[in-house]
């Protein structure tokens, strides 16, 4: 447990640096120099020095923002704890708790957005809701199947594919950044936040990316059949590589129409889930 907590805390400190590396690599794709690797840390530190303009509905908004950060940090620690056990029947209880925490973080994002008295924020909240409905049930199902140890190699492989796609959606990258949607919703769910409150929301966004990358790493590690120390170390070391892989995918995917992005996601995950259940049911 102690090692998992240390690994999670080190990872959470490193997460903004991974984000900085992502921004640097994105700049390299555009043939430009780009910001320093510590840029995300600079942004966060700056936001905590700024004045806070409390939005209308500020109490609920502030409460949801703080709780979301706590829940995401807890889910990151729990994920490392699960990595220390491995995705196996021994850790199934913690996998369930982890999925509850991830869903709670999404619910708090929705609460944060609808508590602000701003149309763009509310629209962003509903978009987040549609993403949660499209991705998280499938994520929970695939993780549960993988952790239970049931099913054949084929059904497990399809469950891994489902978990990877769903965890990419959790990361909030293009085209599934529609809740914030900088160009059209003017930051959507974050539009009314300022100063330290926006700083907390920025940290939450980075943590969400970290949870997504770690979860993908853990799922891949579980395919190799690792458990215990080796599983924890492999997940920890694989996380930056997964983060970069998700970045490359987001650059390749580009933006999509709001309704099409969600429809495609739902169709894809639904098909994968049906395939998983069929292969499990038929014992393939």
């Amino acid at each position: 447990m102690f090692h998992s907590v240390v690994a999670a805390l080190v990872s959470l400190v490193l997460a903004p640096i991974y984000d900085g590396i992502e921004r640097k690599m994105r700049a390299a794709v555009h043939s430009r120099i780009g910001p320093p690797i510590l840029q995300t840390w600079y942004d966060i530190i700056k936001l905590f020095t700024k004045e806070i303009v409390v939005p209308l509905g500020g109490t609920w908004c502030a409460l949801a923002t703080v709780l979301e950060l706590i829940v995401l940090a807890s889910s990151a620690v729990l994920l490392m704890f699960v990595a220390g056990i491995g995705l196996s029947p021994e850790g199934i209880f913690w996998v369930i708790v982890f999925t509850v925490l991830v869903s709670a973080a999404s619910s708090l994002t929705i609460l944060r957005s609808v508590s602000q008295n701003n149309v763009y924020s509310v629209v962003g909240g509903f978009r987040e809701f549609s993403l949660v409905l499209s991705a998280e049930p499938f994520l929970i199902m695939s993780l549960f199947l993988l952790a239970s140890g049931a099913g054949s190699q084929i059904s497990r492989a399809v469950a891994v594919a489902t978990a990877i796609v769903a965890s990419y959606v959790v990361s909030g990258r293009v085209p599934y950044d529609i809740a914030e949607a900088e160009p059209e919703l003017s930051a959507g769910v974050n539009i009314e936040l300022s100063g330290p409150l926006l700083g907390l929301a920025t940290v939450s966004t980075v943590f969400k990316k970290f949870v997504s990358a770690s979860l993908t790493s853990l799922v891949l590690v579980s395919l190799a059949g690792l458990s215990g120390w080796s599983s924890l170390a492999a997940t920890f070391l694989l996380t930056p590589a997964t983060w970069i892989a998700q970045l490359i995918l987001s650059v390749m995917l580009g933006r999509s129409r709001v309704d099409l992005a969600v429809k495609f996601l739902y169709t894809l995950l639904f098909t994968l889930s049906i395939l998983t259940l069929l292969s499990y049911g038929l014992g393939l």
Partner: protein, 164 residues
């Protein structure tokens, strides 16, 4: 070190800008977008374009502030958290340009500043970047000048037009 100097030091490595068009002919706006393209790569200085004035450190103000846009401009600047930094861009943003005495415009930032003061909106620092349209290099230089990262090259010279 004063509070403003401390705040500016904190912002220097992470400058989030909000583009506010107050009735510009769009020439300066095109140059603002140009300054934000990969060619000039302002992200290397930590500059990022944001969509909400609540997130902004610097407002890039273009246009002569038409009567129609004035209430929206005041609201956008009021929504910005302190310190409020403004970069008045182009001939129109600086002094109203050829519309300086038109009935339908406020006539540049100097007059807007008085209106903001009357409405209880404090501005912490302003830098004027003239040009018609303003050059992207001048915009980048203006941002760095606003935050005290570079020294001002020219001295202030006040010129008044005679009535005769």
């Amino acid at each position: 070190m004063s509070n403003l100097a401390k705040a500016l030091k904190a912002i220097r490595k992470s400058i989030w800008v909000y583009h506010l068009n107050s009735g510009s002919c769009n020439a300066c706006d095109i140059e603002v977008l140009d300054a934000l393209t990969p060619y000039f790569d302002v992200e290397r200085f930590g500059v990022k374009l944001v969509g909400s004035p609540r997130h902004a450190d610097v407002i890039l103000l273009t246009g002569p502030i038409t009567r129609e846009s004035l209430p929206k401009v005041v609201r956008a600047i009021r929504a910005m958290p302190r310190p409020r930094l403004i970069l008045a861009l182009g001939s129109c943003g600086v002094g109203g340009g050829i519309w300086w005495d038109s009935y339908s415009t406020t006539g540049g930032f100097k007059k807007l500043e008085d209106i903001l003061r009357e409405n209880g909106v404090e501005i912490d620092r302003v830098v004027y970047v003239p040009g018609c349209p303003v050059r992207p290099e001048a915009i980048i230089y203006g941002i760095l000048l606003l935050l005290g990262a570079v020294e001002q090259k020219s001295k202030r010279v006040e010129v008044y037009a005679s009535e005769s």
